[in-house]
């Protein structure tokens, strides 16, 4: 809530809490009217959450599934970002390099990352390899494009000034261009992280042995609405947690700037 331009006054807190309370009241009321197969009641959700946390469901407990999914998402994200940032900087700095890489990127870019899932399964099977591959594709493009844009939009005066003072080569890149492009790079990282989480959930829904997507899929097959709600909540919570972590990291990495709103 804080990273958006929302008011964070007391009024918003009171009204918001009241709205949530009313919604929960209607949920309880509604679930007694609608058939529970279609729409779970709060008790069912709590029971499902308890079951997932203690006994486990779909091959593991909540902790195992969540950590497994987060581990895969973060691994794919890290590999993609480690490739995309240097490539984006190189593309932004050298027009020749850009001419070489750009056709490939502009060919890959329009294909939605989720469309890679079937081919990833053909190439790597249902294991972790396919998922990391899909996440790699998902996370790669936003970071690359934003890094490139960030490098190209560094204030030319800054570059000229640094050059006048004798900076060139890696000094120019690491002390002027990269810090200048950093806000855009982080925008790209945020998009990439959220996209990789979405891609992971999708890949796990298609086929997996562990993970929150697997919980969702099994719950859907068993027609267990309580568990579906729990799994969705876990997906949202883990996604939010990772985004908050990245925002914290962004603050540490760019102490001179206030996070982009």
């Amino acid at each position: 809530m804080k990273d958006e331009k929302y008011d964070t006054g007391r009024a918003s807190l009171i009204v918001g809490t009241a709205a949530v309370a009313i919604a929960i009241f209607f949920w309880i009321l509604g679930s007694s009217l609608i058939r529970p197969v279609r729409f779970p009641s709060p008790e069912q959700v709590i029971a499902a959450a308890w079951q997932l946390a203690t006994n486990g469901y779909a091959g593991g407990t909540l902790l195992i599934h969540t950590l497994y999914s987060m581990k895969l998402a973060l691994m794919g994200f890290a590999v993609a970002v480690a490739a995309a940032i240097p490539l984006g900087i190189a593309m932004g700095v050298s027009r020749r390099f850009n001419a070489i890489v750009n056709p490939i990127v502009s060919f890959i870019r329009p294909i939605p990352p989720l469309a890679w899932i079937p081919i990833a399964i053909i190439w790597f099977g249902l294991g972790d390899g396919a998922k990391i591959f899909v996440i790699w594709f998902t996370a790669f493009v936003p970071t690359l494009v934003n890094t490139y844009t960030g490098v190209r939009t560094v204030d030319p005066t800054l570059i000229a000034a640094a050059r006048v003072h004798g900076a060139s080569g890696h000094k120019l890149i690491f002390e002027v261009i990269v810090p200048g492009a950093m806000p855009m790079i982080f925008v790209g990282l945020r998009i990439s992280l959220q996209a990789s989480w979405m891609a992971l959930v999708a890949a796990e829904l298609v086929g997996a042995f562990f993970g929150l997507g697997r919980v969702l899929m099994i719950a859907a097959q068993d027609i267990y609405p309580g568990m579906i709600v729990v799994a969705m909540a876990c997906v949202a919570a883990a996604g939010a947690l990772m985004t908050k972590g990245l925002i914290q990291f962004e603050r540490l990495a760019m102490p001179w700037i206030r996070p982009i709103r």
Binding site: D7, I100, P118, I122, R152, A202, V206
Partner: protein
């Protein structure tokens, strides 16, 4: 892709556009050539990476005799219908919601907690409920498209209204503008560029979510086509499907960009 920076010194300034184009095409040629050559020499297994002519052939076969129940055109049209329905639903609900959130603080307070939760749910996580509530025919995928497209619509519209100079809003209120006039004359024009940007983001996310939904729970559509191709290990069909998905995505984006260019030009002209 604006070229704002001056080029660093180690690049010759006489690097003409033609030379760069040549470099690009050389790169593409090298990649395609390696692909063709290595498939001809049998170094690539066709079940892993089929040669280009296999993919072209697959597109032809798909268009003529079809796969997974329908021809390629029918699959694409089915997908586009779901996309259009979910996307317009998201725009029709999302844009007014964003405007109201920007204009009326109590509405913002009420909506924010729900929206913050909704925003973090990956669109595809709705899939089990989509299938349970609306089935896998047309209703389920529409819910997924909606949940992909909704958040960017709301966020961009809301941010657009917040970018409007508060003095303008105050001034129009002081001069006695009703809520309706405020909405039509200040909020919508002011937020317009942002709304259009949001629609493009929405469309991309919606198209991608739809493909994901069709991979998992559908019995027609391009996503279903490629997952069926995967099931029968027809790699060239999968790749042909991916290419058509990419092309349709590009067309959607190009149309939206065209519309937004047109609209903003008209808007600017009307304002001047």
């Amino acid at each position: 892709m604006k070229q704002v920076t001056q080029l660093p010194r180690h690049m010759p300034a006489n690097n003409s556009v033609a030379a760069l184009m040549l470099l690009s095409s050389a790169c593409v040629t090298v990649i395609l050539g390696t692909w063709v050559l290595s498939s001809l020499m049998g170094m690539l297994r066709p079940s892993i990476i089929p040669p280009p002519w296999d993919i072209a052939n697959a597109i032809y076969t798909l268009a003529v005799s079809g796969f997974a129940g329908h021809t390629l055109q029918t699959h694409i049209i089915t997908s586009l219908g779901r996309f259009a329905a979910g996307f317009s639903l998201a725009a029709i609900i999302g844009i007014p919601l964003g405007l109201i959130m920007g204009w009326c603080a109590p509405a913002r307070y009420v909506v924010t907690p729900f929206f913050e939760v909704f925003r973090f749910i990956a669109p595809l996580a709705w899939l089990p409920f989509a299938a349970l509530w609306f089935g896998t025919g047309i209703g389920g995928p529409i819910l997924i498209v909606f949940s992909g497209a909704f958040a960017p619509c709301v966020i961009n519209t809301f941010h657009g209204t917040r970018l409007i100079d508060p003095v303008m809003i105050e001034a129009s209120r002081t001069l006695g503008a009703t809520s309706w006039r405020l909405m039509v004359d200040i909020l919508i024009p002011g937020a317009f560029p942002s709304i259009l940007a949001g629609l493009r983001v929405s469309a991309a996310l919606a198209w991608q979510s739809l493909i994901g939904a069709e991979l998992i729970a559908a019995t027609s559509g391009v996503g279903y086509l490629i997952v069926q191709g995967q099931g029968s290990f027809e790699t060239s069909i999968v790749l042909a499907g991916m290419i058509s998905i990419g092309i349709v995505g590009v067309i959607i984006d190009a149309l939206l960009r065209l519309a937004s260019d047109r609209a903003s030009r008209k808007w600017m002209a009307a304002e001047a």
